[in-house]
């Protein structure tokens, strides 16, 4: 066996890094030199500060060294070596040393504990430990108390033993025991019977409940079936309904289309109106221009017709009346305008002028309605118009009133109607008539 021990020892020492080489033959004969170095080296591995006493030269030194080494190994590594064998410094000593070497080797090969990193210092929670100490102290007192109690009980044991043996030795009363047992058994039997009954009742009720649930379930199934059949049936009016629905839908579509068309047309109409308004304004502006023009002409004409100028104040009132007389039937519509008399006079005159100008315009414009309307008074009116023209020259700013009159045409002035009837009816008639004509003309143009 020494071969294997020496081989393993050599291998272990090699793995531990022993500087010398341990030959397989080295301990075949006692080899104190090598043993000395091995011992010292191994002791230094276990206890870095240890210096083995003694030496290898004399018997006393060797003994001292072996004893010291054995002591160190025992105290530090908990290894008991046989000093006698170690002293032999042969194969048996190798076997002893192999224990130490194998211990160191396993320590070398054991992987470091994974859970605790080495560099983190150990932290003791002292407070919890204090609690433990207290607990331990109380436990110790408990243990002593329990021990004392136990001791007391054990002291009482001899007496108890006596009484116990006495009790045991006492003869048993069989009949009483039997009766008691019988009573007990009957009581148990009663309880068993009661329980059994209860169980039967429970089972009965359970059966009833089961039947009930069955019935309910059957009902439920029936109801479900009926529900399904009812759901399946298609009502008679369904097709009618759907037909109506489709029809409604079509109608709706139609309606929507039409509505959109109407809206579109309305929109176009509004566009057209605005356009016509604009054109009317333009016409107005051109008329005003014309008025200016004519005024300038009138100024010139005044220089030539001075006799007319003298009678201008009277004729201004009379002539337009004569001219506007045939159109009295239209007065109804324009009655009730709020234009005051004076102004109405001015305005009537003005509007007459305007009408005249319209007429003159309509001569060039193929306005059928105008010619129809004023056809009867056309000759006289024309003659009068041309003669009256100088009378309107100062009324340039009154054109505004005429315009105002047009804008206020529809304004109701009920109470003032009666007052103004007599005086301003004709002028109003004159005022409104061209407007009507124009409206009709507009409407003709529009449609």
């Amino acid at each position: 066996m020494s071969y294997r021990d020496l081989r393993n020892f050599s291998e272990d020492m090699r793995a531990l890094g022993f500087p010398e080489h341990i030959s397989l033959e080295s301990f075949r004969t006692p080899n104190w030199d090598l043993l000395d170095s091995c011992l010292r080296w191994l002791a230094a591995r276990l206890e870095p500060d240890a210096v083995l006493a003694g030496g290898k030269d004399t018997v006393e030194q060797r003994i001292a060294m072996v004893m010291h080494a054995v002591e160190i190994f025992h105290s530090r590594a908990n290894l008991k070596l046989n000093g006698k064998k170690v002293y032999g410094a042969d194969g048996w000593a190798v076997r002893e040393l192999l224990k130490v070497a194998a211990l160191l080797r396993t320590a070398l090969e054991t992987p470091p504990p994974v859970d605790r990193p080495e560099h983190v210092p150990l932290l003791y929670d002292v407070t919890s430990r204090i609690g433990e100490i207290k607990q331990a102290r109380s436990l110790a007192t408990d243990i002593t108390a329990q021990g004392a109690y136990l001791h007391d009980l054990l002291v009482k044991e001899p007496e108890n033993k006596e009484s116990r043996s006495r009790a045991l030795s006492r003869p048993l009363d069989s009949s009483a025991t039997e009766a008691a047992l019988r009573r007990a058994s009957s009581a148990v039997e009663d309880r068993v019977a009661a329980t059994r009954e209860a169980a039967e009742a429970a089972s009965g009720s359970e059966a009833a409940l089961v039947a009930k649930t069955e019935r309910r379930r059957a009902e439920l199934q029936r109801a479900e079936k009926r529900l399904r059949t009812v759901q399946k049936i298609k009502p008679m009016y369904q097709s009618e309904l759907t037909a109506l629905e489709t029809e409604i839908e079509q109608l709706w579509d139609q309606y929507v289309v039409r509505y959109r068309c109407v809206e579109a047309l309305k929109h176009q109409l509004s566009l057209l109106e605005t356009a016509q308004n604009e054109s009317a304004e333009e016409q107005q502006a051109s008329i005003l221009q014309l008025i200016h023009k004519y005024e300038t002409e009138d100024v010139l004409g005044k220089l030539s017709d001075s006799d007319e100028m003298n009678s201008s104040g009277d004729e201004r009132e009379s002539k337009p009346r004569a001219a506007s007389r045939p159109r009295t039937r239209l007065r109804i519509k324009t009655a009730g305008t709020t234009i005051p008399e004076n102004r109405g006079v001015w305005a009537g005159r003005d509007s007459l002028d305007i009408r005249d100008e319209d007429d003159s315009d309509t001569e060039s414009d193929p306005d059928v309605s105008d010619t129809q309307l004023f056809g009867t008074s056309g000759d006289s009116g024309r003659a009068a118009r041309w003669s009256r023209r100088p009378g309107t020259r100062t009324l340039t700013h009154d054109g505004h009133y005429a315009d105002l009159g047009l804008g206020l045409e529809r304004k109701p002035a009920g109470p003032e109607e009666g007052d103004s009837l007599g005086s301003s009816s004709e002028s109003e008639l004159r005022l409104s008539s061209p407007k009507l004509g124009r409206n009709s003309a507009l409407s003709d143009n529009e449609f």
Partner: protein
């Protein structure tokens, strides 16, 4: 060349592993101090406990029964011999049952080994005894008694001697006679391990002084390794003997035959107590002190021993002459065996190709326009012109040790036997050769139609097998065996690679390093000595040019058949001095007269030696005498003229011979030829010429 090392993550043993053995190419047995015998399967990475022995079973060594090719009793083969530290040896069968336990030694039984022929076993013990036992465990004899423990003992390959360690000495003791004890001091420290290779009979020893030394059987030191820091605990030869492995504390080193280190690994395994090679020589297992069993594969074989097993053929296209085969083998441990093995890269011509194989590649050989790959189970023959369609045939057993190539056939040396195939993958012959595992590179030679092997039992005897070529159906009776006997032990043979069967020549080196040449098919073969002190020989693959290596020179014999006349031989021999060949140099190949020599330090040396003679030989082989004459007239070299003269004389080209002899001042020969030409009319047949020539020369 490197070792790719792999181990299992967790050690399967729980104590020091002391011994390990390969069962076949996939299974490994290991035994350790935890009393368990484990079986490792490398294909599926399994580890199985075969047996758990008794508590006092501490193995020291283990040896599997040698697998001989002979069909013996089957059940006898599956036994393991284990020696233990209590002085016993146990014979255990593969199921783990102890068949026999024998108390052999006092103290520990340190080593035990079956004899290579399986007839017996030897044990060596701590008590200094070395004992030989019969196969059944009966003591035959105590060979050695000493007071020094025998740490290791090995059988010689022929089972006729044993090698054992005695302190720092190595001792070879022959069994048959009590006189021959060869003992020498080998190391400074204790010798712990020895190994003896059957192929070249070299011994390697490793000691506690940190050296590994290679010895021949006479105790002459062949090589010495570098010093290691720690004692060497194990050495093992590879099965083919072209590599060995050293194991030490946290160290494993792969070296070649000459002790040159291929690679060094430092796995943290503790001491490696035992290393075992697989039989194909591509994997090894090691028993480690840290409870592991370590497996290693040899990868990236480039050059090195491959070129020694590789035949480089001339006459092929230039581009593949410059090939360097780069061999990468995938590890079996990490990849399942179905993975392809990628191994082949061609350098030097900007062309790289990668061939995939389903198994591990074990051997490769390149030459004669073919590339032959042996994997574990199959052999692939690639033609160099069409890489992708190899011819495939199955191998008998997955342990191929050598592939030899010739012009028309391939010889595959397996553990089960030697087989010769054609390049079409057809089995041509399977000559019966005993113990094929002992066949080394030097002991076998393949010619285009012959196979020569040195007989294993009697190394003076050379067996030459005629191989059926062409369309002849093979049968066992076809193989005509010629036996040549030399007066001395033959160490190396080589067959000429060209020429017809009747002119097949065999060059042999005997133990005294004398070179002889013999024509195999002569009725009375006569050995002609070409020269002494030749270290290595090779025939040119295209011509009958024989090149030999001496200690300080390289020699080319242009016409080895001229050995009948010594003056002609000296005339036709070209020699060139080279220095610094180093230890154990060898000739790798010859291309167009350029000799490639591997020196002792592993470097390759190319020497232009006989380019013109080889050119001349090619002309003559093609029967182009005019071209040959023109070449000689241009070069004006006396050796060349001598070659021409001899060859013309042999091929009965008398006018050419006359001119050539005249130019090398062999005037008596000129007169003789003139006489012949006058005496014999031109119209006579060449056979009559030959007859008359022989008559006259007699």
């Amino acid at each position: 060349m490197k070792l790719k090392i792999s181990t299992f993550k967790e050690p399967k043993h729980t104590a020091v592993v002391t011994c390990v053995c390969w069962n076949n190419t996939e299974d490994v047995f290991s035994c350790s101090d935890d009393h368990k015998l484990l079986k490792w399967n490398l294909i599926n990475n399994e580890c199985m406990t075969v047996a758990t022995f008794a508590e006092d079973f501490f193995p020291t060594s283990m040896n599997l029964f040698p697998k001989t090719g002979q069909s013996g009793v089957k059940h006898q083969h599956d036994v393991i011999l284990i020696s233990t530290a209590d002085g016993k040896f146990h014979i255990v069968n593969h199921n783990g049952r102890i068949e026999k336990s024998v108390v052999a030694h006092q103290g520990a039984c340190l080593t035990a080994q079956w004899s290579p022929d399986g007839a017996g076993l030897l044990t060596g013990g701590e008590d200094g005894f070395v004992k030989i036992w019969s196969r059944n465990g009966l003591l035959r004899s105590s060979i050695v008694q000493s007071d020094v423990p025998c740490f290791n003992a090995k059988w010689s390959p022929d089972s006729g001697a044993i090698l054992y360690t005695k302190g720092n000495c190595l001792v070879i003791k022959h069994l048959n006679s009590n006189s021959k004890i060869n003992k020498w001091k080998a190391h400074e420290g204790l010798i712990l391990c020895v190994a003896w290779n059957p192929n070249h009979n070299l011994i390697i020893s490793g000691g506690e002084d940190g050296y590994a030394k290679i010895w021949d059987t006479f105790g002459q030191q062949v090589s010495i390794s570098v010093k290691h820091d720690q004692p060497l605990t194990s050495v093992t030869w590879s099965p083919t003997g072209n590599m060995f492995v050293l194991g030490s504390y946290n160290l494993i080193r792969l070296c070649d035959l000459n002790g040159r280190s291929y690679c060094l690994d430092r796995p943290s395994t503790g001491s490696i107590y035992s290393i075992s090679w697989s039989s194909d020589g591509t994997q090894l297992a090691a028993a480690c002190a840290n409870c592991h069993v370590l497996f290693a594969h040899i990868i990236e074989r480039t050059g090195g021993p491959w070129t020694t097993t590789m035949h480089w053929a001339g006459g092929a296209a230039e581009e593949w002459k410059a090939l360097l085969l780069n061999y990468l083998k995938r590890s079996l441990i990490h990849r399942p065996s179905t993975d392809p093995v990628k191994w082949c890269t061609f350098l030097g011509c900007d062309q790289s190709d990668q061939l995939d194989y389903p198994d591990r590649v074990i051997q490769i050989a390149l030459g004669f326009n073919h590339l032959v790959i042996a994997t574990v189970k199959q052999c692939f023959i690639h033609k160099l012109t069409s890489w992708n369609t190899p011819v495939t045939f199955d191998l008998k057993e997955g342990s191929i040790s050598m592939i030899l190539l010739a012009e028309r056939c391939i010889c595959v040396v397996e553990r089960a036997g030697v087989s010769v195939y054609s390049y079409m993958g057809r089995l041509l012959a399977s000559p019966r050769i005993p113990r094929p595992e002992t066949i080394g590179q030097a002991t076998i030679s393949l010619g285009p139609d012959t196979l020569a092997v040195i007989d294993h039992a009697d190394r003076k005897l050379i067996q030459v097998f005629d191989l059926p070529t062409g369309l002849i159906v093979r049968s066992s009776t076809d193989n005509t065996v010629t036996k040549l006997t030399h007066k001395m032990t033959v160490s190396c043979i080589a067959l000429s690679q060209t020429g017809p069967l009747n002119e097949r020549q065999l060059a042999l080196l005997d133990y005294n390093r004398d070179l002889y040449v013999v024509t195999v098919k002569e009725t009375k073969p006569k050995m002609f000595k070409l020269g002494p002190q030749v270290l290595s020989i090779t025939w040119s693959s295209e011509t009958e040019l024989l090149v030999g290596l001496r200690a300080n020179s390289v020699v080319a014999w242009c016409c080895p058949r001229a050995a009948t006349q010594p003056d002609w031989l000296t005339l036709t021999t070209v020699s060139k001095d080279i220095s610094d060949l180093g230890r154990n140099p060898s000739i790798m190949n010859i291309e167009d007269g350029v000799v490639c020599v591997r020196r002792g330090n592993g470097s390759l040396l190319r020497i232009s030696l006989a380019s013109f003679p080889e050119k001349l030989l090619k002309h003559i082989a093609a029967n182009m005498w005019d071209d040959a004459l023109q070449l000689c007239r241009t070069v004006e070299d006396e050796t060349l003229w001598a070659c021409l003269a001899v060859l013309a004389w042999q091929y009965n080209q008398l006018p050419v011979a006359e001119e050539a002899f005249a130019l090398i001042h062999q005037y008596h020969q000129v007169y003789y030829i003139q006489h012949l030409r006058n005496a014999i009319p031109e119209k006579l047949t060449t056979s009559q010429t030959l007859n008359s020539k022989t008559v006259l020369s007699n």
